[in-house]
Amino acid sequence: MTLLTATKVGHQFGGLCAVADFNLKLHYGDLMGIIGPNGAGKTTVFNLITGVYRASEGSIHFKGTELVGKKPNQIAALHIGRTFQNIRLFRDLSVLDNVRIAHHAQASYTPLEGLLHLGRYRREEQRIIDNSRLLLAIFKLEHLAGETAKNLPYGLQRRLEIARALAISPELLLLDEPAAGMNPNEIDQLMDLIQWIRQEFKLTILLIEHQMKLVMGICERIKVLDFGVTLAEGPPKMIQNHPRVLEAYLGEIPVV
């Protein structure tokens, strides 16, 4: 069963072609990686899927719904969660509020109920708090619920960002360089974490990463982009030995 299909997606910034003829098929439960040099258009793909940019060509279908033309919050409400290359937490808000905010689309009370704190407000807010605390507990951040997000150390901010993305109860999770700035030991932990949340939350994961250890270690399929064009797609073993990938991305020296 396919969850996400991108067909012939293209996007230009002015005259610069960021992504061209991008095709992607994700099945339920897939764990796929996108690699490529800086500026290859990897993050642009994420921004096209989540609606930050509107694709100039092609279509993206998620469970049969067309995503092109939808606003980011509408796409998020369809349960597509993401993290960011450079952490984008709500820095001045508490850890708990960061996670609570991502429940916005799931809280079904009207502005009037919100103004008067009546009706569904109480029940929904309590549910949001409970779910947020559960997520924080899973990510071992519960004792920091009241802390301001910007005061957390880097690694915990990364974890909080994943917790926040999970708060919209995603079926598809997009991770943009989750291992950036991590040491090998932390990368091992992150790999375990990704595998674990994938099973626990029944997620389909698409991730961008430069750390070959992580990509080759956990991804089942890998897609290689360069200058917006797909060079190759396949299982890690195949990508590692793909001549065009070696030439364009890894250079002459085989890495890993």
Binding site: V52, S94, I101, H104, G114, H117, I129, A145, T148
Partner: protein, 368 residues
């Protein structure tokens, strides 16, 4: 000693009966004071201005503090509320026969302002920061010149002879109701949406916050409150003209908000109170009355050289105070912090639970 006091204070704040009891006492006082003239008419007048200014400051803080935009249009919304309500009480509603129609007129003023607030919210979907500030300024000018050019409502001469319908109980009622509603809004999913827009609008959108809807509601609520404050203001001053609702009125409210501190209801209440009282103290007659106990060889020269010129000086002293606050106290009295009593119990407990440090992020006494 201080820690002991704090503990007692914290215990007091946890009591469920505290807020209702305070409200009943306050409402009782608001009725009793004018009835038996417990305070001079002048002090009562200032109390009413304090209430109106609290509504203005708290509602402007929703946009300027919590949402992080810079709106200069607040005086415009006040004007719309004031003119709508005044037209209703003077020409449409038989208020003299049915005094309870007055709150209806006030409410209508608020709703009219909210409708215009919607119009300001729409550009905010596309534009942020300085550019939105300019749009709100343009909006304020449009409102002012429109009123000036409609002869039916007095044009630039304004409307004199408005009935004095604003009373202390009404001011108390509206202040408490509106502050309560804004506080409820802030501690709902919409309020958290407003905060997240201030922090990072794109991230907020990607985390499923409907940013346009949230902005729309925030602007409408803010202008609704400004409209009500304008309606109360008009029926207290008994005279309105477009010149009252110009940029300097917006600036006054800005001073209250930034003095009290952004993103803080408690701060705005303090800021509005301080500003109103200070401004009154700087009136020559008030200052002279306050210092009249001084022996005449001190008072007379002081009066001649300083107090009698205060009318001019206070226009220097207030902006100077604002500059000093901005330089040495940029967050204002309670910037980004909140008085614990205003935070819903559910929110406080959610942040506390299993927190080994037991620190409340919103507790003003813990942070510096």
């Amino acid at each position: 000693m201080i820690t002991l006091l704090r503990e007692q204070w914290d215990l007091l704040l946890e009591k469920r009966w505290l807020v209702p009891v305070l409200l009943i006492i306050g409402f009782g006082l608001a009725f009793v004071i004018p009835e038996f003239n417990l305070l001079s008419v002048y002090v009562q007048l200032i109390l009413m201005y304090v209430g109106i200014n609290i509504i203005l400051a708290v509602s402007l803080n929703l946009v300027n503090g919590y949402m992080g935009e810079f709106s200069l249009a607040h005086a415009g919304f006040m004007a719309v509320g004031a003119y709508t309500a005044v037209l209703l009480t003077m020409k449409v509603l038989p208020v003299t026969d049915f005094p309870l129609l007055f709150p209806c007129a006030v409410l209508a003023g608020g709703l009219a302002a909210a409708l215009l607030g919607m119009l300001v919210a729409i550009p905010s979907f596309k534009v942020r920061g300085d550019y939105l500030a300019i749009i709100t300024l343009a909006f304020l000018m449009i409102v002012k010149s429109m009123i000036e050019n409609i002869d039916f409502i007095g044009g630039p001469r304004g409307i004199p002879g408005i009935m004095k319908l604003t009373t202390l109980p009404w001011v108390f009622f509206w202040t408490v109701t509106l502050v309560w509603m804004i506080r409820n809004f802030i501690y709902s999913k919409y309020g958290r949406g407003v905060l997240s827009i201030r922090e990072d609008e794109i991230a907020s959108d990607l985390m499923s916050v409907n940013t346009q809807q949230v902005k729309l509601f925030a602007f409408m609520l803010s202008s609704f409150c400004a409209g009500i404050a304008g309606a109360l203001f008009a029926h207290l001053l008994q005279f309105i003209s477009p010149r009252i609702f110009d940029i300097s009125k917006s600036t006054d409210i800005l001073i209250m908000v930034y003095l009290g501190g952004i993103a803080s209801i408690g701060g705005s209440i303090l800021g509005a109170t301080l500003f109103t009282v200070l401004l009154e103290l700087l009136r020559p007659s008030t200052m002279a009355a306050l210092l009249s106990w001084l022996p005449s060889f001190v008072f007379d020269p002081l009066n001649e050289h300083f107090i009698s010129h205060l009318g001019v000086w206070r226009m220097v002293i207030m902006p100077l105070a604002l500059i000093l606050v901005m330089l040495y106290w940029p967050r204002g009295i309670m910037g980004l912090r909140e008085f614990r009593g205003f935070i819903p119990r559910r929110d406080r407990e959610a942040h506390h639970l299993n927190n080994p440090h037991g620190e409340d992020p919103h507790d003003i006494t813990n942070r510096h």
